[in-house]
């Protein structure tokens, strides 16, 4: 997928004007955060589990080379194969080589962000292999020739009327008189069409939420069961994974699983959690004849030992984007590449280069919600700030932004002047915005105030209150 992350501003403008998208995002903002909060309230140990999960992943990252070797050994011991790929191109070639050897015409796919990252579908198609997405959301966007707008709910930007229209256009043999107004009718239609695809596919490709070193197992977590049919009824199961998916043991896996569903959808546990270990056994009557794990590095090994290492703890739950005010206003496509929301703002410049995505870290209000909801305690704002500074140094930012930041830096390094200016600005803004308590537009911040209102400062600044408290004593 050709990244358009540098056009974040233009993308965002388009998103704000898209009525269907705004309706869909409204549903999302009401949905995920409430469900997560309910699930967390039922598990008093949640925060303690977060600490442990963070420690598990930190330990894995510090010893990643060894864990990868152990995992590989165990995959081989079970009759599977591990393929190491530095770049998306190597990974594409690896997958195609397996498909070609098996003379595969069709592959069914479970959801895999790594496959998105390496643009696998386009490549397979160009080489005569038809990829069929089977996760309902992925399937919908595949037939619409779009990209996922959310890492766990790829079609969250659509309303059901758009989906019905796409089904009518693509599904030959669909009776025009058949009503498709209800979500249930759409699900049933997709189920019928995809059942056939599962059964006729030669190869099944899935992602991996985790790779268990101890056993050489890969793990997928789904609600639909598509990833299971994908890997069960085909000749070969290919797992696409990035290097950081490793966990040491089944016990460690259990800890991470307790966080994943609750953070993602607010479920106590996802409907299907599946461990796959090697190909079908000699006496099995079912399961894939071959099992391949394709590891993609694509810049991750270089993130270790840097300020971005923490990002590699990510379990892709999506909580950060579900709670992000910017994501909730502009949706995922505005971020212009595979990973939207706060993780996109950090990963896109890291994986693609800052010149391709330099403006993304600015798509943030630094409100800190992403970090506070992240089950893996990833300091997303700190990393965005790092890219922002980096970008500023390289003078990639647009001029008004640079002058604004310079002026801020000038003031911030002179506390008395900062306090004075902030106090004046706060009063002035408070005065202009007072009648409604909100600003509908601000100079230099049009992109911000178009989708939401900036609350007018109420009363005094944090620093003046802080000074007063300090004087008053605790």
């Amino acid at each position: 997928m050709e990244p358009t992350s540098n056009a974040f501003k233009e993308n965002a403008h388009r998103a704000l004007a898209d009525a269907n998208l705004q309706k869909a995002l409204g549903m999302m903002r009401r949905g995920f955060p409430n469900k997560r909060a309910t699930a967390l309230a039922r598990l008093p140990e949640f925060d303690a589990l977060r600490e442990q999960a963070k420690a598990i992943k930190d330990h894995v990252l510090e010893n990643l080379d060894l864990y990868l070797e152990i995992f590989e050994q165990n995959v081989i011991a079970q009759g599977g194969q591990v393929h190491w790929c530095r770049t998306p191109q190597e990974a594409r070639e690896t997958v195609l080589a397996i498909c070609s050897r098996l003379d595969a015409k069709t592959v069914t796919k479970g959801k895999s962000m790594i496959a998105e990252e390496m643009a696998l579908n386009d490549y397979l198609e160009q080489h005569g292999v038809t990829p069929v997405e089977t996760d309902l959301g992925e399937y919908i966007i595949q037939i619409r020739k779009e990209h996922p707008s959310h890492i766990i709910a790829p079609a969250i930007h659509l309303v059901k009327e758009q989906i019905a229209e796409s089904f009518r256009q693509t599904h030959k043999g669909l009776d025009p008189a058949r009503p498709l107004e209800e979500a249930s009718a759409l699900v049933a239609e997709a189920r019928t069409v995809l059942r056939q695809k599962f059964l006729s596919a030669d190869v099944g490709i899935t992602g991996a939420n985790f790779c268990v070193a101890e056993t050489g197992s890969t793990v997928i977590v789904t609600n639909e069961g598509n990833g299971d049919l994908t890997q069960t009824v085909t000749k070969a199961h290919i797992v696409m994974a990035s290097l950081e998916k490793l966990v040491p043991t089944l016990e460690d896996l259990s800890t991470l699983l307790r966080l994943l569903a609750r953070s993602a959808t607010g479920q106590e546990f996802s409907t299907y959690t599946t461990l796959s270990t090697g190909p079908r056994r000699a006496d099995d009557t079912d399961g894939p004849g071959e099992y391949h794990v394709v590891f993609l590095d694509n810049g991750r090994s270089a993130m270790l030992g840097t300020e971005f290492q923490d990002m590699l703890r990510c379990i892709r739950c999506g909580a950060c984007m579900n709670h992000c005010p910017v994501y909730g206003t502009v949706g995922g496509h505005a971020y212009g590449w595979v990973y939207p929301g706060p993780i996109g703002a950090v990963l896109t410049p890291t994986l693609l280069g800052v010149d391709k995505a330099g403006h993304l870290p600015n798509a943030s209000t630094f409100c800190g919600r992403c970090e506070s909801v992240c089950p893996m305690k990833i300091p997303l704002p700190r990393m965005m700030r790092h890219w922002r500074e980096h970008e500023f140094e390289r003078k990639l930012s647009p001029a008004p932004y640079r002058y604004g930041l310079k002026a801020w830096a000038f003031l911030a390094t002179r506390p008395p002047l900062y306090r004075f200016t902030a106090a004046v600005a706060s009063r002035v803004l408070g005065w202009i915005g007072a009648p409604h308590g909100r600003f509908r537009s601000l100079p230099l911040a049009g992109g911000w105030t178009q989708g939401r209102d900036l609350p007018a400062p109420e009363g005094r600044s944090f620093m003046s209150l802080w000074a007063e408290r300090r004087k008053a004593g605790p």
Binding site: L68, E69, R86, I140, L199, T249, F269, D284, G287
Partner: protein, 234 residues
């Protein structure tokens, strides 16, 4: 092995500013892997006695649209299955895994049930399987693949009926793993995991369309458990 492999492992070590781990460090990690130490296990299920865990299992399962009938013995299973099918207006034709766990159930007492044992096909509407464990914490079923339990039987039929024994109910996933390791440990001490372990929590579902929950996305639309509550856990 491959050049890419060596380069990736080398890049990881360079980034971590060290060479390959030395023998003591490797031994430490091998020990960590062998210990299978449990991390924090929530008190929710672990703090209950076995009867309490079975009750919790039922409550959690029903929360996610699993239905459940409790019977007192294996002899009552065929009637429970027949009643469920007629209540839901489903055909009394079933595909049943060749799982020996299901052998002591007197299916012949309900001759109306037309049972074929083997691997599920697309045309099978109703499937019946055993399972390896039930996890009380979240009402989750743990199923394993093998010649007697092909994985597709868990996914192809529209209605999946699972026979679960009371003693199979475990508090946590960790308890499930301990039992699986014990069951699959070979004479040489190595644990041979089955090709597939399925944790199933409720019928298949999706919320991909406008975040509305719909059941039966690809897997079963209905998940029904017949819980054979025949005495305390061993």
């Amino acid at each position: 092995m491959s050049e890419a492999r060596a380069q990736i492992l080398g890049a990881i070590r360079r980034s971590l500013k060290r060479g390959p781990l030395d023998a003591p460090q490797r031994a430490e990690i091998a020990a960590r892997l062998a210990a299978h130490d449990r991390n924090l296990v929530p008190a929710r299920a672990a703090s209950l006695d076995h009867a309490g865990q079975v009750d919790l299992f039922q409550r959690m399962a029903e929360e996610v649209e699993t239905t459940l009938t409790r019977v007192a013995s294996a002899a009552e299973v065929p009637a429970a299955v027949a009643d469920y099918l007629s209540q839901k207006n489903l055909p009394a034709r079933l595909v049943m895994t060749p799982d020996p766990q299901l052998d002591d159930i007197p299916w012949g007492t309900r001759p109306m049930l037309e049972i074929r044992r083997g691997r599920a096909e697309v045309t099978d509407q109703v499937g019946i399987t055993g399972c390896f464990a039930g996890i009380a914490e979240t009402g989750t079923l743990m199923l394993i693949s093998g010649p007697e339990s092909p994985t597709r039987n868990n996914f192809l039929p529209d209605t999946h009926i699972i026979v679960l024994r009371g003693e199979q109910v475990a508090a946590s996933y960790e308890e499930g793993w301990s039992r699986l390791r014990a069951a699959r440990r070979a004479a040489d001490g190595n644990v041979d995991l089955p090709r597939t372990v399925n944790f199933i929590t409720g019928p298949s579902r999706t919320a991909d369309i406008e975040q509305r929950l719909e059941l039966g996305a690809h897997g079963p639309r209905r998940l029904h458990i017949v819980l054979v509550d025949d005495g305390p856990a061993s």
